[in-house]
């Protein structure tokens, strides 16, 4: 065990602090995630932005996690790929190699499924979904899904959630203070309804 771990190494392991209840109940999954990220970090993943082919593949992946449509914003509208690009240079840098390997794997699977396809991004949506179902249990999928969702919902200062569309997706007002009533049931109770 490295007695003087690098900042980069550990920040990347920070993949999953969650609500204390949640943490307490899911620490097993977190431990495997941390181990995976640590392994990635120890391989000295190069720092740097995603390459253009990588970002095309990852953007397609993120688009499947949170698609556009239904009148609701998704990964594209949020610019989730910009979050991912910054995350793998910054707080999740230790995931860089894991992401790079996973993208390569997606593209190789794409080439096998559809030989002329140079990229996962060039497959049809159905083909992409089929490949993603095959790797749902892989650490890459867990982490890339997490980064995709963070790219929609994390604070815009991290590069995604453009114009706060993630808050709009959830139906959150996202202002700095509120006054009661807060929701339907407390409003109902305040008006003498069922309590």
């Amino acid at each position: 065990m490295d007695p003087a771990p690098s900042r980069r190494q550990f920040l990347t392991e920070s993949a999953s602090l969650a609500g204390v209840s949640w943490i307490a109940l899911n620490a097993g999954a977190l431990a495997s995630l941390a181990a995976c990220a640590r392994e990635a970090a120890e391989q000295n993943a190069p720092l740097g932005a995603l390459s253009e082919p990588e970002s095309r593949t990852l953007a397609a992946f993120a688009r499947q996690i949170l698609p556009s449509g239904d009148g609701l914003p998704g990964a594209d509208e949020a610019g989730a790929i910009h979050f991912i690009d910054q995350a793998v240079q910054g707080p999740f840098a230790g995931m860089r190699q894991l992401i790079a390997d996973g993208v390569r794997d997606l593209d190789e699977r794409a080439a096998r499924a559809n030989p002329p396809a140079p990229s996962f991004a060039d497959l049809t949506s159905d083909q992409q979904v089929e490949i993603m179902r095959d790797i749902e249990q892989d650490p890459f999928f867990f982490n890339a899904r997490m980064l995709s969702i963070m790219g929609v919902l994390a604070d815009p200062s991290y590069g995604g959630n453009r114009d706060g569309v993630g808050f709009a997706l959830l139906g959150v007002q996202h202002v700095s203070a509120y006054q009661p009533p807060f929701g339907h049931y407390d409003a109902e109770a305040a008006n003498g309804g069922a309590a």
Partner: protein, 552 residues
């Protein structure tokens, strides 16, 4: 904040390590009583303007809890296992900075009840545990709970099972949320007794501070309005205003020093640049939390104290108790908007006492809340049978995030000697100190208690008319934000670390006062008791000092 400063080479009356729930109270109380105080804090001195609504930073990247690269911790289930680094979440979760974990806590603020102090006498011993009575009673602590109510600032109203109180709450309960309304509806349908949640968050202005603005960022965040009654917002400014207290932030304690007679002489610490200093003091108080206080005692070993300072009992670091937690969720037709306002507005204590008819030891409380912010809910909080990505996942998110609340259970942990905090033999932190190593495995009764509360939570949700109900299954606890029991209080030096005045049995001018002093775990909300103990300890320490019992 402008403050008095003290030279390191002249002994101050008291040096306190830690400025959190206990340390902040002790600093303010002792300085107000006319003593000179230096308080060391390893983290920075933030103000309310520093706090933001950044869920990724506060929940995933350690904005307040610290960079896990700099402060690694290790975890294992049993002593024979090799401990592994558990970076995030760390097994021993606490905030670094002036105000300590009182800055980022949820602010649930339940008093203990008489039974919490004498349960061993009431129920008898429990095999395989260090289950014991406290050397103090609720009645002795009651004036200090009242002091906490008024000096710290607590919102609440009396409940049907409350212990006696000598004075009403200073401010009324916070406005009920939809979670509270539904929780109350379900509990009443079952014949239970919901009550407004006592919270260390102001419902009305008090002591010159603002009331809560309902921004919704309490748990794991710092309050940008100073409406949460952290010691950063309450005790620290008043300590400094006495002109007798210096808060030394970004100062990491390395060890307590002792002289040939076995008395503490001061604390060696590092400043932000890593330069070593030695602050001399007549009396040393450790209030660094149940993990850090134990580590500091181990690091203060010497030929006279070969097993660590104040550890002739061998119990330093042992009997760690986290409290158990459970979570069940209900989803409703209309929006609750639980992202607004404080986490909790209604609780029940119907199952507080241990009931021998259940066949196991344990008790606790339940509350209605939503612990999970947008990221947590989206990543991990959806029902287990729901899709986790794709168009349906997105539609569900858009519908469910604002329509869900959680019934959380908070339960007893038995004191088990093999649950502990020790020094990791290999891993070091950024200052070269051995990392905290946590060994923890719930007592079987603790898991049964959690299951009991899990099942009651489902019943409650069923009685609310939820459209869908799901839960996290009960599992062994893998981390704690409640760091209790690691330097337990008692009359017998062979079976405790500090006496009823928080004075180390082995070192006459060393006091330990924080969650480490707990003998039993209470029902899952320890902070108010930590603070009542600190107010009481300050009075006891003053009496000893004035009687000349602390020496020169």
């Amino acid at each position: 904040m402008r403050q008095r400063t003290f030279p390191t080479d002249q002994p101050v009356d008291f040096i306190i390590v830690g400025t959190g729930a206990a340390g902040g109270v002790l600093a303010k109380e002792l300085a107000s009583k006319g003593f000179d105080v230096v308080a060391l804090e390893q983290g920075p001195w933030r103000t309310r303007d520093d706090f933001t609504h950044d869920e990724l930073g506060y929940w995933f990247l350690g904005t307040l809890t610290g960079d896990p690269a700099e402060y690694p911790q290790t975890f294992r289930r049993r002593a024979q296992d090799e401990a592994q680094v558990q970076a995030f979440p760390p097994p021993l979760l606490y905030a670094r900075g002036v105000g300590g974990s009182s800055v980022h806590f949820t602010a649930n603020f339940w008093r203990f009840r008489p039974i919490d102090f004498n349960e061993r006498s009431m129920l008898g011993s429990i095999a395989g545990t260090g289950f014991a009575d406290w050397p103090i009673t609720y009645e002795e602590l009651e004036p200090y709970y009242t002091k906490v109510d008024w000096e710290i600032g607590v919102s609440g109203a009396p409940g049907p099972f409350d212990p006696p109180r000598s004075r009403p709450y200073p401010v009324p309960p916070l406005p009920v949320k939809s979670s509270g309304v539904l929780f109350e509806r379900g509990a009443k349908a079952l014949g239970w007794h919901p009550q407004p949640a006592p919270m260390a968050i102001l419902s009305q202005p008090h002591d010159g501070r603002l009331a809560c603005q309902h921004c919704g960022y309490c748990m794991m965040y710092g309050c940008e309005f100073d409406a949460k009654s952290s010691t950063l917002a309450t005790m620290i400014p008043r300590a400094v205003a006495t002109g007798r207290c210096e808060i030394r932030a970004e100062s990491t304690a390395l060890r307590v020093e002792t002289d040939a007679s076995g008395r503490a002489t001061g604390v060696v610490y590092l400043d932000a640049s890593g330069t070593e200093h030695r602050q001399l003091a007549r009396t040393v108080i450790l209030a660094a939390n149940g993990a850090e206080t134990a580590r500091l005692l181990f690091l203060s070993e010497s030929s006279r104290f070969p097993n660590g300072l104040a550890n002739s009992s061998g119990l330093v670091g042992k009997y760690l108790m986290f409290n158990g937690q459970t979570a069940a969720f209900g989803r409703y037709a209309e929006p609750l908007n639980e992202y607004k306002s404080v986490q909790v507005t209604r609780i029940i204590h119907d199952f507080y006492d241990s009931d021998p008819r259940r066949g196991f030891y344990g008790g606790g409380g339940m509350d209605g809340r939503m612990s999970q912010g947008a990221l947590l809910f989206s990543l991990f909080g959806m029902p287990p049978d729901a899709p986790t990505w794709g168009a349906e996942y997105k539609r569900n998110l858009a519908e469910w995030y604002v329509r869900t609340f959680e019934v959380a259970g908070h339960t007893t942990s038995l004191p088990v000697e093999s649950n502990n905090v020790t020094l990791d033999p290999e891993v070091k932190d950024k200052w070269g100190r051995p990392a905290l190593r946590c060994t923890y495995r719930d007592h079987p009764d603790d898991l049964k208690t959690m299951q009991f509360f899990h099942d009651r939570s489902i019943e409650l949700l069923e009685a609310t008319g939820a459209e869908q109900i799901w839960s996290f299954p009960v599992q062994e606890t893998a981390l704690g934000a409640h760091l209790l029991g690691t330097a337990r209080m008692g009359d017998d030096p062979a079976s405790s670390v500090v006496n009823r005045d928080h004075r180390a049995h082995d070192v006459p001018n060393l006091f330990l006062c924080d969650g480490s002093s707990f003998v039993t775990s209470g029902r899952g909300q320890p902070t108010m008791t930590i603070q009542a103990l600190a107010f009481r300890a300050a009075d006891r320490i003053e009496s000893l000092a004035k009687a000349g019992e602390l020496g020169s």
